[in-house]
Amino acid sequence: MQDARCKKVQGSRLKGDFFQLSAFSFQLFSCLLSLVSCLFFFASCGSGGGGSSGSTSTTPISGKTTVSGAVQFEDRTFDSTGFTGTQNKAVRYADIEIVNSSNSSVIASTSTDVNGNYSITLSPPSSNVYVRCLTSTSVGFSKGTKSYNIEIVNGSSSVYSVVSDVFSAASVGTYSKNLTASLVSGAGGPFNILDALVDGAEFVAIKNGSFTSSKVKAVWYDGNTDGTYYSPATNEIKFLGKSTDNDCYDDMVILHEFGHWVSNNFSKDNSPGGTHTITGHYDIRLAWSEGWATFFGSSIRSYAGYSNSEYYIDTTGGSGNGNLLFSYEIKTPSYSSLATGSDNELSVSSVLWNIFLSAGFSGVWDVSKNYLPSAVEVSLEDFWDGWFVRGQGITLNPYSIFSARSIEYSSDSYESDNNRSQAKTVTLGTSYHHTYYPLGDEDWISFSATSGITYTIETLNLTNGADTHLFLYNTDGATLITSNDDRSLSGTDKSSLITWTATATGTYYVRSKAYSDSGAISTYGSYNLRVQ
């Protein structure tokens, strides 16, 4: 039976080989035909003059019909106060098509180079054609000249383009066609999104050694009120086109969302998503995801040599200078007194940016790509762990960078207090600041209780993602009286509260540990412990 199966497999393999050979032969034959037709074409048209077509000047160059030119888009410059002006910028690596205007068929294609220049030979020459430059990079991708495939489309997945006038390229010569996607036409915006994403892809390709075959698809259209976000479900990025908030020229907003895309395609992201403000404190997975995205966007702009790369800038998109919605910088960072903890995205961005400034990007990328995918719930805690696991601690101990943002991945001053015998005696009514660190750390305290008196044992001021779990033990330090995970039944408040009336006078023990059962997100965290 196995023999029969093997024979069948061999048979299929042979068929496959035969098919491949057939395909190869066909390709060889096609190439030969093309060569012959080219030679025939040169022979028949070689003596033809340059001629001109409409406003296009032509110069005969060795019997070829070539269309070439440069493509630019109108870019908007900005700083932390909003827009500051406009400038023309090359459209890099974008698809160029020569289109037959009579039937809309594409008769030749290429892509622009790093300077926005293109050159394409028409074979055979053709009349009534026009040049089209698209907001996509698929030609270079399919030809293997560029490793990334980017596409900017509208809500119906139609790609944007700028086109030349229709001209005749029926004669031998070079036809010059320069294109500009202007701001006022509405074409500049999608080309700016392409430009920012090309910056992003170039950065990843350099830092990672390669990009990915996954397409970077961005959706933007004038009037889009759906929101600016990255969706892991579709692997697409969407950008607002509202009259009061249009993101097509907000490079940092574009690159922030690209940061999410990179995280999902090269690392791991467990963010529960949702609305988030820059000064708010949230789930540490959300804070990591958003903090990373802003940091990554800034890293791209820093690598590409832009000024103000440490600024996140969001404008209304309105015409003229200014039009700032808000901006913040991630080095100091802005809102410094509010940007604290591993549960705040600005704090996370600031930590990563300062590590980047001190130790470069390679360590951050190494941890992100090679360590974080193995984490259960990705947050700044995992980045910290990964930094040392991946040996980056030799280059830089980021302790002071973390502590500057009140992120305490270190033992508290009451250690060692990891069991009953090490329990620290506390004074009733006094709060004691603790951290859960290192992994699995427990904090034990003891207190004197009087029979008939009711006591409140609680954790307060939870920061850095702390999720406390309290256990009250009898005077033997072993018999559990009661425990509490979350003070609120809904679980939204992760602090713990035990209210208990002593039945006998004596010394009782409290064990505090990070919640570690099903659904646990953090392993570290800071909190205060109080008995009263």
Partner: protein, 188 residues
């Protein structure tokens, strides 16, 4: 767990000796079905959560919602509600309504500044005279000054007498291909 009549009939046909085996088989099937149902539910939940999770862009710590509480009978009065929710303590908030020339503010404060309680919704109401059924756009501009010194700005617009818009293209949008969509702008 639901079983069809046919399955029930088959179960009844089993003799006493088979009943025990059948019973364990049934339990196993039920177990498998439960596991399957659980997995299905888990997959469904995962799928839902995947679709729910979106990574939206950072926003400043202030929420702004603007809407009409009363459609105007033109010519007549439109009642506009502007809800502002500062999400942090702040040192000042400027709230300003910008009206097109033909609209007239009948009541409500055009420019307001002060301090609002964090995480609490404050509603500003405006009565605006609308002269005709043309479409007008009014804008609310809110500037929040943080206690740390920085300012953030939010702008929201509201259309009065909105008209259903066609899928308008720019003047120089000339074509959308048949095989794939291509929006063409004149580039010269």
């Amino acid at each position: 767990m639901f079983y069809s009549e046919k399955t029930k009939g088959i179960i009844k046909m089993q003799d006493a000796r088979c009943k025990k085996a059948q019973s364990s088989r049934l339990k196993a099937q039920r177990g498998l079905l439960s596991v399957f149902s659980f997995q299905l539910s888990a997959c469904f939940l995962l799928l839902i959560s995947c679709f729910l999770f979106i990574a939206s862009k950072p926003i400043p710590p202030i929420e702004v919602i603007i809407g009409l509480s009363k459609q105007p009978v033109v010519p007549g009065i439109a009642i506009v509600n502007l809800k502002v929710i500062p999400l942090v303590e702040h040192s000042n908030i400027d709230i300003q309504i910008e009206l097109p020339e033909k609209l007239r503010l009948v009541s409500g404060i055009k420019k307001w500044n002060g301090i609002l309680e964090a995480d609490k919704t404050e509603t500003f109401q405006y009565q605006i005279y609308v002269p005709d059924s043309k479409t007008y756009e009014l804008k609310a501009v809110i500037i929040l000054r943080m206690i740390t010194g920085e300012t953030v700005r939010r702008e929201e617009t509201l259309e009065i007498n909105p008209v259903a818009k066609k899928n308008e293209y720019k003047k120089n949008h000339i074509k959308e291909g048949k095989d794939r969509g291509v929006i063409e702008f004149k580039g010269e």
